[in-house]
Amino acid sequence: MNLETLVRRALKDIRQHMAMYALTTMVVTLSILIFLFFSLIYVNLHHFASRFGTQLGVVVYLKEGINEELIPKIYNELLAINGVKNVVYISQEEAFKRLERYLGDEKMVLEGVDATFLPDSFEVKVEKALFQPERLRVIADKIKKIEGVDKVQYGREWVQRLEVFTGIARNVVVASGILLLFTAAFVVSITIRLNVYARQEELEILRLVGATNGFIEGPFLMEAMLQGLLGAGIAIVLLYASYLNVSSGLLMPGFIKGLKLVFLPWELVVLVVGLSMVLCLLGTHFSMRKFLRS
């Protein structure tokens, strides 16, 4: 059987069972839409948090009166730690300048104060710290052991809260994702099975005239693939439309002004479309296999 015949048969089939097909496709669309909606929320939380989380890192204070020669060595040791993104040395003078800047108009309080009252320090940025806050702790513990290091600071409390929060958010997304995947697979395969039962006579006749399982299954699989594609496609278009709607209509309050909503990464979009197609294919294949076993 060539591809042209297959496509022709599949299209004819769809036309003849339009209502059923539309219904099944809608079920696929809704399931995927719900899943994507959760993902979108998660992705935006992620995005939001990483914008504000760039400050997140570890501050390493060096011992007072430390030997200048040790500083490059500590720098290299810090950089060598797994998960460290970059390290910036803050000299006593630099720290002082920052403090002045921070105080702004009130910087006169610092007049006559010696810059050396502030210790030398390093700012260590940690990769993906926001989403794996536990890393901060691990890295801080390692840094403490370096010679010449006096104190290590990181927003411990905040990090702990963040840990809980991102953990929950991730679990919710993953759990709802898995649940929805199963629901979708289940509902789709039930719908398909009903469809197959409704057409039992046709399948019986096909078998009678010597159709191979492949010939019988071919159009069904084709339809299923198209269904997965359509279902996921429609869900993504709907989600994108509402995303555009919301993000253009959303007037951000002052402090997060300029913070834009982001859409799902294209990799996830492609993955969802692919998965949807595979799911529909498998659902159809397994509900037909029962029937095709003579």
């Binding site: 009678l208 005239v209 010597g210 003579s294």
Partner: protein
């Protein structure tokens, strides 16, 4: 189709028994052979196992014990994947026609060729020819419910013979037809048989084979009464 006459029976049942669940013995130790080109009636009262015997031959059921040979091949040895292809050697006709109501006459017949993988043109040529030969020329665009019972049965026969199978199994094909249509169907079968097709014709209507010289196999409660 190349006709070989190598003396091997085209259909052989060797001690075939078919038991359905709940200990229903539909066929009990049937041994039977059909030569190539034979026209054989299969008769017996309702429930005697006629349909079951045919079902075994077109792979709709499997025997509980015993062996079935078609063209000398034990069908037990045919791989599952090859069964559909082997089934194409056998055209089947039923009492209730089994036509697809949402396809027209042409498409119903074409189905048997689509399955085999004939091209568009070949299908059109062959289907039109077979419809013509069965007196259905010009009815290709009609749907089954727009035809009389006799016409519907001829469509079903057209579908069964369009890819020229060497064997035709008919299960009470005249059960729903009046005597004129019944004779038409018998004539079609005679003609097919004259061209070398082996025919196994199940019916409980004694009149169909009264006075013929054709072989008649009688079943009763799953056993053969008369055989040779």
């Amino acid at each position: 189709m190349i006709e070989r006459d190598d003396g091997i029976p085209i259909i052989t049942l060797a001690s075939v028994t078919k038991r359905y669940p709940h200990d229903i013995v539909a066929l009990d130790d049937i041994t039977l052979s059909l030569e190539k080109g034979e026209f054989c009636f299969l008769t017996g009262p309702s429930g005697s196992g006629k349909s079951t015997l045919l079902k075994l031959l077109y792979f709709a059921e499997q025997p509980t014990s015993g062996d079935i040979f078609i063209e000398g091949i034990n069908i037990k040895t045919i791989k599952e994947a090859h069964k559909p292809i082997f089934r194409r050697k056998i055209g089947v006709v039923f009492q209730d026609f089994k036509l697809l109501q949402d396809r027209n006459v042409f498409d119903n017949v074409a189905l048997a060729l689509e399955v085999v993988g004939f091209s568009h043109d070949q299908i059109a040529y062959r289907v039109n020819k077979v419809l013509e030969s069965l007196g259905l020329g010009g009815k290709g665009r009609r749907f089954p419910q727009e035809l009389s019972g006799g016409e519907q049965q001829r469509v079903a026969i057209a579908r069964a013979i369009v890819n020229r199978p060497p064997i035709i199994l008919a299960d009470e094909p005249t059960g729903n037809l009046d005597s004129v249509r019944t004779m038409e169907v018998l004539d079609i079968m005679d003609e097919l048989n004259a061209r070398g097709t082996t025919i196994l014709f199940a019916t409980h209507d004694e009149r169909l084979f009264e006075g013929t010289r054709r072989r008649v196999v009688r079943l009763r409660d799953g056993r053969m009464e008369v055989g040779y």
